[in-house]
């Protein structure tokens, strides 16, 4: 036996802190086009290498390369660009609205717009997403009315959720968007259960569950993997690894020296690790996973590698814990810029068209905001009635809630 040394506790640290430049080599970025695309009925063990690589389609010359490059027409790509830009413009406007105190809180998805936008293209009507609070691009892609989104953010008289939820905790069953919970990870077993129900009923619909890198440490994530594997649930489990959970670097969630996708392989689930800032890669990987689910081949775990370019929320100041300009150096770049350059290279898009679209979308978002504000904001007091607070606790209001409502005098 070797001589015992005093033990020391390992606490992971990010490779960049305020005042020093981040070393992103930990991401293990490989060139576009080199990761193979296995058949959808691949054995889970045979995805182990993919789960530790990075599926990328758009290369440094803005070309789509390799076996994952999807065949997408001009119209679809432009729809993708438009949705991503709309999401980003919407986010920026809503942050201003929060600063003006029209809403209590907001969360942007800056830098992560490709993931929900391209993933939504792989889903069909009737499929159900179980999102986190940073998948507004799913709603944008499904053409959910911006006015309704803003009414929810403003908690006004037209708020479809009657003022009960924090801003961004949207719900829209008809758009396949499950009600968002502030409790992290709970939606993962729920997505699996929804998918199991679809299989129990012999339906054709699939589920898509979402979680961030930080919340994968919750037991619900691991439980969800087990149930998904055990019952071969038709579900896609998406881990959005944006490197940061508020101020905690992804290594604190367990991402040091091992990928989040590798956890799927460990649970017996075919798993992919994908460049989440590459619109084409996101689309291709999502289609692959959806095809597996629809063919009764079971779940797929996908780790989307991206970067949370903005603060966690409007209550957060990331310059306190990471370099303020870190996003500039993130090796996977900006998803909107990358798709735009690809379109330009194909001759399908120009700088002039880009500018025109930017102006058009800004006007569209502004018009939606103006319309929504007509129905009230958090500061003008036109919020859902206090009486409505007692509704929907149960299907029928029980006697004790009637009495309490009476006591409040509403």
């Amino acid at each position: 036996m070797s001589q015992s040394q005093p033990l020391s506790l390992h606490v992971p640290e990010p490779t960049g802190r305020p005042g020093c430049k981040t070393d992103f080599s930990y991401l293990g970025v490989n060139p576009a086009g080199i990761v193979p695309r296995p058949p959808v009925d691949v054995r889970y063990q045979d995805t182990a290498d993919i789960a530790s690589s990075l599926i990328r389609v758009l290369d440094d010359n803005d070309d789509a390369v390799g076996p994952w490059a999807p065949e997408l027409d001009k119209e679809t790509l432009l729809h993708g660009l438009r949705t991503m830009m709309k999401t980003r413009i919407f986010d920026a406007r809503m942050v201003i609205g929060q600063r003006q105190k029209k809403m209590s809180f907001y969360m942007t998805s800056l830098g992560e717009e490709a993931i929900g936008t391209a993933h939504a293209l792989a889903l069909k009507d009737g499929d159900m997403c179980f999102p986190t609070y940073r998948q507004q691009s799913l709603l944008m892609a499904r053409q959910y009315p911006m006015v309704e989104m803003i009414c929810q953010l403003l908690s006004n008289e037209r708020d479809p959720l009657k003022g009960r939820q924090l801003p961004v905790m949207y719900s829209s069953k008809k758009d396949g968007f499950f009600t968002i919970s502030g409790n992290l990870a709970t939606q993962i077993p729920q997505a699996v259960g929804w998918a199991m129900a679809s299989a129990i009923k012999g339906d054709t619909k699939i589920a898509s569950g979402w979680i961030g890198d930080g919340a994968t440490a919750e037991s619900d994530f691991h439980t969800g993997l087990t149930f998904a594997h055990v019952y071969r649930a038709p579900v896609i489990l998406n881990v959005v690894n944006n490197q940061w959970a508020i101020s905690s670097f992804q290594a604190i969630a367990g991402g040091e020296s091992v990928t989040f996708a590798a956890r799927g392989v460990g649970a017996g689930i075919a798993s992919l690790r994908v460049d989440g800032n590459d619109f084409l890669a996101v689309y291709a990987a999502s289609c692959w996973a959806a095809e597996r689910a629809r063919n009764n081949l079971g779940p797929t775990l996908i780790e989307w590698v991206t970067y949370r370019a903005g603060p966690h929320s409007t209550s957060d100041d990331p310059s306190r814990y990471r370099p303020a300009d870190e996003w500039t150096y993130f090796p996977l770049g900006d998803p909107i810029g990358r798709l735009r350059r690809h379109l330009v290279k194909k001759g399908w898009w120009s700088d002039a068209e880009q500018e025109a679209l930017q102006a058009e979308l800004e006007a569209e978002v502004l018009a939606a905001q103006k319309e929504a504000e007509q129905y009230g904001t958090l500061i003008d007091g036109r919020v859902p009635s206090a009486a409505s607070m007692f509704e929907d606790v149960y299907k029928e209001m029980p006697e004790h809630l009637r009495r309490q409502r009476q006591e409040l005098g509403v």
Binding site: F130, S171, S181, P189, Q190, M196, D220, T223, D392, Y394
Partner: protein, 355 residues
């Protein structure tokens, strides 16, 4: 003693009127059988629930009859069982899941409290969670601290849940059917000491079978017992006993042994509560004893006592008495010193009468 012949049964066919002697286990199984037959959206799962039929045999035969898709085994993960059930319910199914012992529900707390109970509220009715979570509870079986707890107060504290606890086979079946049909999430607590017969707390006496009891005569078909109505288990004039589950039978023994004419109210559904039946009885008797097996402090009895003083204060002739489990973990060898048996309940009756 309750006279079930006089109680209205929401009968739909002849099978509901034809009764068969059933244990509480058989009655619960019959409830799930009836509902699985009537509604293809009803699915049943939990640990050991499928092929084996559950450690208490409550789901025995359901997989053979309805197939593996509708009655199946689940991994040992209460959070996963309830979490997937929330997803299934959101899809449109009516899952009936089993937590093997109520003592094991804690890992599922987030899914019960933050999810199932609030889906309707937080989505303003966009999504709902019509699921039933069954769990055997209570002691008296030498189960020690992890097979004996009565955690009902955890659930009654959560807005959006219905919490139910039957005391006999007839109610068990009717309440379980009503729970499965209900569009709100229901916590269905099954006093395991009552599975095979009524138990009055005299653990040293021979076990009594449900077959000798009127409340063990259970209609074969569909019927419901309403989720918003307490039962007057034993009418009386001297004092009102508010209780549920096993303690209904212990309270009856205490009444018989003390000669005190107690009116025993079996709450059946703890929350939302049938307050009217309680208030009417306490105003009549002027005395109230609350009895439960769960630990005393912050137990559901505290809520009952508060409600009684709020609504009946000027009718009370004596302080409200509470009889409950001691504020200790459920012990193993000292089980009968812990269990609030007929002697402790009877002593509380006497104090209430003498005050």
């Amino acid at each position: 003693m309750r006279d079930i012949e006089k109680e209205p049964v929401a009968a739909e066919d002849a099978a509901a009127e034809k009764t068969t002697p059933m244990t509480m286990i058989q009655a619960l199984r019959s409830a799930m059988d009836v509902m699985m037959e009537r509604d293809s959206n009803v699915v049943v799962y939990g640990q050991d629930v499928g092929y084996f039929g559950g450690v208490f045999r409550v789901t025995d035969g359901l997989q053979a009859k309805y197939g593996k898709h509708r009655a199946f085994d689940a991994p040992i993960s209460e959070g996963g069982i309830v979490g997937t059930a929330v997803g299934m319910a959101a899809y449109g199914l009516r899952p009936v899941v089993e937590i093997q012992f109520a003592d094991y529900f804690y890992p599922a707390t987030d899914q019960i409290v933050s999810e199932a109970a609030r889906l309707r509220y937080r989505s303003a009715g966009d999504f709902t969670s019509p699921l039933t979570i069954r769990m055997p509870c209570g002691g008296g079986i030498y189960g020690g601290q992890t097979h004996s707890q009565s955690p009902e107060a955890f659930f009654t504290h959560v807005c959006g849940l219905r919490t139910v606890m039957p005391s006999n086979p007839y109610d068990a079946k009717g309440l379980l059917i009503a729970s499965i049909e209900n569009d709100d999430p229901v916590i269905f607590l099954e006093p395991k000491r009552l599975y095979n017969g009524p138990f009055d707390g005299h653990h040293d006496r021979p076990v009594v079978s449900w077959s000798k009891h009127d409340l063990g005569k259970v209609p074969e078909g569909y019927y419901t017992v309403p989720l918003d109505k307490a039962a007057i288990f034993r009418p009386g004039a001297d004092l009102t006993v508010l209780t549920y589950g096993t303690m209904v039978w212990v309270s009856e023994a205490a009444a018989n042994e003390t000669g005190i004419d107690a009116e025993i109210i079996d709450l059946r559904t703890l929350w939302p509560l049938d307050l009217d039946t309680i208030v009417e009885s306490v105003k009549k008797t002027g005395r109230c004893v609350v009895v439960h097996e769960a630990t005393k402090t912050s137990g559901f009895g505290a809520e009952l006592a508060a409600l009684v003083q709020e609504h009946c204060f000027y009718h009370l002739e004596a302080p409200i008495e509470r009889v409950a489990g001691w504020d200790t973990p459920y012990p193993h060898a000292q089980e009968w010193a812990y269990f609030p048996g007929p002697d402790r309940v009877g002593a509380a009756f006497k104090r209430a009468m003498e005050a």
